[in-house]
């Protein structure tokens, strides 16, 4: 079960709307390397993990990714909020507007809806953990791309925070992979 904390993991207060940046960031909401995919991947894979450490790691990181989903949703909302339709048209984000208005919808930046086909969950924990390492690097790379096109510190700071979390998650999945392998192999260490 979960407890909800009525705040974002990192504070988000964007003063200047930027609808194009909103659509760019949207891919981390419902895109292939986004936070929803990450969360569902880890929270589904945890059931077949063979050790307590691996279950706990996937559970904790899967939970944190939900908090990141909330951060990304908040950013998309603040960047789009109250921008007049004519302005959206000028900025070429009107196709998004005529489908969803200024709502936050789980799709990538091109409007492709979220799909569970982005993720895998297998009984084999080694296969899962290798996927998870790759997923963290792909999310990290996406944040690098987003940071490279952003110019507002109110946007860059939370993106930097999220990018660093992917680095930390990579380290934890790497450690988990070793714990799982060493436990399964029952070699001389642990």
């Amino acid at each position: 079960m979960w407890f909800y904390d009525k705040k974002t993991q990192y504070p988000i207060k964007i003063k200047k709307p930027d609808p194009r940046m909103a659509i760019a960031i949207l891919t981390q909401y419902g895109g292939p390397n986004g936070e929803l995919a990450a969360s569902l991947r880890y929270l589904s894979q945890r059931f077949s993990m063979p050790t307590k450490e691996a279950k706990a790691t996937l559970n904790d990181i899967g939970t944190e990714e939900l908090a990141h989903l909330e951060m990304i949703g908040t950013m998309v909302h603040q960047l789009m909020d109250k921008v007049p339709p004519k302005e959206l048209e000028k900025l070429h984000v009107d196709t998004n507007y005529v489908i969803h208005g200024r709502a936050v919808y789980p799709s990538d930046s091109n409007g492709v809806p979220f799909t569970a086909a982005y993720i895998e969950s297998m009984e084999d924990p080694i296969a899962n953990l290798n996927e998870d390492l790759a997923a963290e690097e792909k999310a990290r790379a996406t944040y690098d791309y987003l940071i490279s096109i952003a110019d507002d510190p109110d946007v860059i700071d939370p993106l930097r925070f999220l990018r660093e979390r992917e680095v930390v998650h990579y380290q934890r999945f790497g450690e988990t992979l070793r714990i799982v392998r060493e436990t399964m192999g029952k070699k001389k260490y642990y």
Binding site: E53, A56, R160, Y190
Partner: protein, 62 residues
């Protein structure tokens, strides 16, 4: 990092199990396997600095 450095890994759910001592990298690494060294815990950032950086661990800032 010296491969023979010994890391302490806190086991169990929420690290409530036995701590084990283990080399940061396998003594005999195998082919066709991916390895990440175990982290050695040293200094940590202040709470304020950690929030800014996204981690409490200086060695994980990349």
């Amino acid at each position: 990092m010296d491969n023979l450095n010994i890391a302490t890994v806190y086991t169990g759910n929420n690290c409530t199990g036995e701590p084990i001592m283990i080399p940061v990298m396998p003594v005999r690494p195998e082919l066709a396997r991916a390895y990440v060294p175990y982290q050695l815990y040293n200094k940590i950032f202040s709470a304020q600095e950690s929030l800014k950086k996204g981690t409490v661990f200086p060695e994980l800032v990349k």
